[in-house]
């Protein structure tokens, strides 16, 4: 198997966030989403010579990811019941795929928006994502109930979504 080109590696790298968003939305479980994401990465790597430069990498990647999600569900069906049925999965996959290439622009906007978060929300986001603290641990550290931490995280993400959308619409990054 020939080693993928630097351009191909760059394409995979720049689509990691989108790939994870896709698998998370279809599986609704962070760990399973990460596992499928990694399996997809491996297949992308193995099939790198099949990718035609200039064609739609995101579409190709998400097609492989969708297949991997279905394989994952089949493998695990004996262990657990998935609450997302096949129809819902198709709808989510279609809507999730419809987003245009957004990672680089979204990340640039996100950096600016993080700075604008209220201090409490920014702190919790930092600790959650940068430090890897669990909700339970965050609650203990901050002397708050776990539901309150979850609510703050949700609000922080909502604020970030609005801020990023605004900046992208206004052409600010």
């Amino acid at each position: 198997m020939p080693a993928p080109s630097a351009e191909f590696i760059q394409l995979i790298t720049s689509h990691q966030s989108r790939l994870y968003a896709y698998t998370l939305s279809l599986l609704g479980d962070r760990q399973q989403a990460q596992d499928v994401m990694q399996e997809t990465n491996l297949i992308l790597w193995e099939k790198s010579d099949q990718f035609r430069p200039g064609s739609n990498f995101a579409a190709w990647m998400l097609k492989i990811a969708y297949f991997q999600v279905m394989t994952h569900r089949r493998r695990r069906r004996k262990l657990e019941q998935f609450v997302f049925d096949d129809n819902l999965l198709e709808n989510l996959a279609a809507e999730s795929s419809a987003a245009t290439d957004w990672q680089e622009r979204q990340q640039a906007a996100l950096q600016a928006c993080l700075e604008k978060l209220p201090e409490r929300q920014r702190e919790i986001v930092h600790r959650r994502y940068s430090e890897g603290y669990s909700i339970r641990k965050l609650a203990g550290q901050l002397g708050a109930a776990a539901p309150a931490i979850k609510q703050t995280l949700f609000r922080a993400r909502s604020n970030l979504i609005k801020c990023v959308q605004f900046r992208l619409q206004e052409g600010i990054s």
Partner: protein, 525 residues
């Protein structure tokens, strides 16, 4: 299921949050599935939050094989943090490699290459200034940074020695390895393990260091942070002020001012005031130019080991005009051999580190002065400060402690080839720096400690030799090729500013050397 249709938007939001954050029950998941299937607005919100979750995970570097925050399993509850899950990368890779028996090597490089590409894609937040021993690598990649290269957001491992870094806003950091740290941004660094000394100019105020259990916000200062293997943190402020907030406790932040220090307990997160320890942090690569060193150099020493940090971390640099450089022989501890000294750095001789100069300095005139600063943790029996040896027999001098009595002791080989011995009747006080000098002026051999003469005896001078080996902090073997086998005579402490002169110093000159004080010392003699 009917109830789901009655959920308010806020309740629907909470459900999305539960699923995204990983705490949803099966019933909640079913509720959300129903809403997603029936309500396009909820579906849109859900997808937006999935995208934001992914963007945040990417932004903070928890995609691409890094740790990912999840709820702890029952077995791991009580841990401060969720451990990294590299298995999520390696599991499918290993599976594929064994199954297909092809492309194994290429496949295993996938995560590293992605991490490298991810790191390279980040903007520069600082620069690597210089190194002394060890290497600085981007964690879990093959990227090893050289002086002059950019620092980007990411995790780093310093294998040992020291690394000088400058972040934006001119924040200077001296990292001591082994260290594991993460640069989040130009203004924020997480120290998982190891030591750093930070110098923050006014434009860098607000620079933040996080440790496993505390957050330190700078208010314009010089400070040091030490995270030990048991994850206990210590914060020492040399000058200025910092704010320390325990991450585990909900108490008010602690303001630490000049010459104050605190320890953050790993188990409870509680803060305890401790004494500032100037000896803990090395804060500069360069030996300061001071009256002390100028006075020594004016005497044209035969050798002058200032114990400066060398580029490779293992060269014992001779700052005299003779350049009799030696080597530092590493002992048992995986710690840098240089530590804070009386002036700048010193040689850490604890744990069997020692300096060795195979073609060491000699006095060819028969006159001799040894001058040095020493610091002892314990009085090891007959411990050695400096020892010379030739293949044919003893060298010109040996300086150390006298047996179990623990006073300073010196031996020189006089002009007739006899060994002349002298010792201080008082045991050497521990835990502080002492200036020590030995003078053979042709009539007497004199021993000085703290600028005072503590012993003297008649001595015709030292036998001129053309070559001899020198060990600093250890006793040499009779063949002079290394430390004596099975010796227990290593110096347990630090040795600094070791100089050999071809002429006797006057008592007043020794007093002057002893009285030269280092700058910015606030708590130590």
């Amino acid at each position: 299921m009917k109830r789901t249709a009655l959920l308010s938007p806020e309740e629907a939001d909470l459900l999305i949050g539960e699923v995204i954050d990983g705490g949803a029950s099966p019933a909640q998941q079913a509720q959300l599935a129903h809403l997603l299937a029936t309500d396009p607005a909820v579906r849109r919100t859900y997808l937006e939050h999935c995208r934001m979750e992914a963007s945040l995970a990417w932004e903070f570097g928890v995609l691409g094989g890094e740790a990912f925050p999840t709820e702890p399993s029952p077995a791991s509850r009580g841990e401060a943090r969720i451990p990294a899950l590299p298995v999520s990368w390696w599991k499918p890779l290993a599976w594929a490699a064994s199954l297909m028996l092809v492309a194994t090597t290429a496949g295993l490089f996938v995560p590293n290459l992605l991490r490298e590409a991810r790191w390279n894609a980040g903007g520069a937040v600082g620069i690597v200034d210089r190194y002394a021993g060890g290497s600085l690598a981007v964690s879990n990649t093959s990227i090893i940074l050289s002086p002059g290269e950019s620092l980007r957001a990411g995790e780093y491992e310093l294998s040992g020695g020291f690394a000088g870094l400058t972040l934006a806003q001119n924040v200077s950091l001296m990292m001591e390895g082994p260290a594991h740290f993460q640069i989040v941004s130009a203004g924020r660094l997480i120290l998982h393990r190891g030591k750093l000394a930070a110098r923050v100019p006014p434009e860098g105020v607000g620079f933040t260091v996080e440790t496993p259990h505390a957050q330190i916000v700078d208010h314009g200062t010089d400070f040091g942070v030490d995270v030990s293997a048991d994850r206990t943190s210590e914060i020492h402020v040399f000058e200025g002020e910092v704010e320390v907030q325990s991450l585990a406790a909900t108490t008010e932040p602690l303001r630490l001012g000049t010459a104050q220090a605190t320890r953050v307990d790993a188990a409870s997160g509680s803060l305890s005031g401790i004494e500032l320890d100037q000896e803990r942090f090395l804060r500069s690569f360069d030996e300061p130019s001071l009256p002390y060193s100028r006075k020594v150099k004016l005497k044209d020493p035969v050798a002058y080991y200032r114990m400066a940090i060398s580029e490779d971390g293992l060269t014992l640099l001779d700052r005299s005009t003779h350049s009799r450089h030696g080597r530092i022989i590493r002992g048992d501890l995986d710690l840098p051999p240089m530590v804070p000294g009386r002036f700048g750095a010193s040689l850490r001789t604890e744990s069997k580190n020692f300096g060795w100069v195979s073609e060491g300095p000699t006095s060819e005139s028969g006159l001799l002065t040894l001058t040095t600063w020493i610091y002892a943790n314990t009085r090891v029996r007959s411990a050695t400060i400096a020892h010379t040896q030739t293949p044919a027999g003893p060298g010109q001098f040996r300086l150390g402690l006298f047996g179990d009595q623990g006073g300073l002791a010196v031996e020189v080989l006089d002009l007739s080839g006899q060994v002349v011995r002298l010792n201080d009747p008082s045991p050497l006080p521990l835990g502080t720096w002492h200036h020590v000098a030995v003078v053979a002026d042709g009539d007497f051999l004199a021993l000085y400690r703290g600028g005072e003469r503590v012993a003297r005896t008649a001595c015709t001078g030292v036998m001129p030799l053309t070559t001899q080996s020198l060990a600093i902090g250890a006793e040499l073997r009779p063949d002079s090729a290394g430390p004596a086998p099975g010796t227990s005579r290593f110096w347990d402490g630090r040795i600094d500013e070791f100089a050999v002169l071809n002429a006797p110093l006057e008592p007043a000159e020794i007093t002057a050397l002893n009285q030269t004080t280092p700058p910015n010392r606030r708590n130590k003699k």
